[in-house]
Amino acid sequence: MLMQIKDLSLNYGDQVVLNNLNLDVNQGELTAVLGASGAGKSTLLRLIAGFESPTSGEIFIDSKLVSDSKDVVAPEKRGVGIVPQDSALFSHLTVSQNIGFGLPKGSDARINELLNLVGLSEYADRKPASLSGGQAQRVALARALAPRPKLILLDEPFSALDAELRARLREDVRRVLRAENATAILVTHDQEEALSLADRVAILRDGKIIQSGSPTEIYNSPVDLGIATFLGDSILVDGHVEDGKIITALGKITPLNKVSEGQVGVAAIRSENFYLQPNPSGDSEVIGRVFFGHDAVVEVQTPKLKIRARSNGPFAPEVGMKVTVWVRGAVNFYPSS
């Protein structure tokens, strides 16, 4: 295990930012810490980098204690690289000088290697002011990777970019991190980013990691309703368990998680779980449609409640059409305590 965080807490006066947070990061993995804005994601990175000292708890890197409430190893001695949100390039230096900033003199080979890796060889002598947002982020990544740190921290590195660029840069970052065999922690509020990019996803809420696992595990089995609604668009439907099925206003649904007979609670149905069958005598009616091209979100009024369903774009039913609503696949059920 490369990094281990044990019971880490941070308070600013009365304000609790992190509360007994635990997180392990394995060598060579990309871990995404996913949380809403203000959840303390950036603070967590600053603690790992050694910019802040915890109120209590410990951080180990390579089994060596680097932070506790008494002592914090200085940032320059931790071997942790950081890629800030706004890239924060040294504006008085060129691209290659930025990349070589943390390297001893005469490391031109390493600088060129990284310039190639991030695809910016022609920009070596440019000043940061002349770079686009995506290029600046690549330079920031190369600069952080240059001294071969044990751990790379990425603080919402794509949030300032437009959607198309973001998708491309994500691919590049993943490729570069793999090529360097780097261990990295990425914090983000974008669930799509976390799920598509990371080897492991850890969800930060109320100052602690409430669930961590592979992207599929996290998406398919959120441990509670909060995560279920946070990850993807879920419709919550009241129901109870009868003969191993969840009985709801939308019919009998197969549970994905373990349930016991007679439980009362809520089923979280993802919008892609709905199937809308056009049916002139159906009891539900399409009342709204937002078209995205590849798919569409269709709003449907059923006799008891309103749902949002994701539907194949070109074949999505029109507003005013009568439909029958089916739930495909299994869904998670959360008993009320």
């Binding site: 600053r46 940032p75 924060a88 600069r143």
Partner: protein
Amino acid sequence: MRKPPALLKALGIVAALAALIPVGYLFFRLGAGSEKAIEELFRSRTIELLFNTTLLVVSVTLTALVIGFLQAWLTTRTNLGFGALFAVLATLPLAIPSYVMAFSFTATFPSISGFWPSWLVLSLATSPYVFLAVSAALVRTDASSEEVARTLGLTKWQVLVRVTWPQVRPAATASSLLVALYTLSEFGAIAILRFDTFTRAIYNAYRLSFDRTAAAALAVVLVLLTLVVIWFERRYRGDYLSISPASQKRVRISLGKARPLAVTGLLFIAVVAVGIPLYSLVNWSIIGSSTADLSQILEALLGSVSLAVLAGVAITVFALAIALWIVRYPTKLGRFVELSVWANHALPAIVVALALIFLGANLFPWLYQTTALLIFAFLILFLPNALGTMTTPIAQVPKSLEDVANSLGVKGNRSIFKVVLPIAAPGILAGAALVALTVLKELPATLLLRPTGTETLAVRLWSATEELAFSQAAPYALLLVVLGGLPALALNRQARKALSEVGK
């Protein structure tokens, strides 16, 4: 494209021509009495002045740079504490005209004179310029790049040298060269502290011996020195770096054991720069209050205020005309007018005064020693500053608003009065007030050009100090700070911005 109204052009051209007078005079003077002038230039006295002036300019500039930079860095980047308080203390000397500060030192320590006190007073009076520029740059530069540098293996002191300094260097260079220009053209403080530099020598040559050729020859050297400083500024200013919004989260650098030392140092500077002058002014004012002649004070106050208002209005009219011309109707002629007005921005007041005395005495005797000529001198001296402060609010009014006004039936250039001026009014008024306050505090030009019998606060302070009548001088000094310095500081946009940002 629209054409500029004739009135704007007329005012602009008058201002441009006026701006050419001082330099024109120097050329004329040198041409007319070249032999005598050259003789004057090679006297050992001139060499001594050159040495003194250079010594003072270099030492004051470096000292102000060190003080201002440290104040800015300590208050914005470290765990010094009381950041807002120290920012106020670092800015406050701006409210004290440098000759008032010099007076307060002489009044407290009557035996001091020469280089050291001049160096001290001017360094303290000018360090706020460096502080304001550098702290603004520090607040705007991205502190996260400093944190990144830490993760790349630099200690906090290495970061200061390799990352922080390069990022604020343009601001530091520009402001310290401003300090150099200020010191070059300074007259009052140096004269009160009796250190022989060009400005004092020019004044004495003219005042004591009425030797205009000698005065003009010295003025030429002074102007050349000014040009050297301006060249330096252009050459070494460097590119202004693109500034990214500073990250909100930032841990201040821990000063560790150096913290008490830093606090003591800053407090010490504040005591000398603000404490001693205030104590001295208040103390001597109290001593002088029993014998003060209230009617004399009122007379001087009235003289200062009326000059300030007259000159303020005149300068504002010209500055507005030129600002509107260059912002709204960019033409080559407008550009030329702007440049020629700007050419005077570093010209020492004493040189301008000398040129106008010549003009008045030889060409327009009916103008000589009139209020009009004095106002004209203020126009030449302060139009560049006024233009600077008034261009911004006018340029900030979107051009499209005028188009909209026209499309709604406002005829042609009347949109200036209907739209541009009302929107820019707050900025224009602040600029006008600032110019008037600068005139209120002006000393050398007033001293040389005032009509006989015109008294101002600065002139009274000057004559009383010359007679070593400190208790008589003190009320004028106090009034200059309270009515001139403090309001000017309050209107100073850069200072207001710094005080609202630093220490957060």
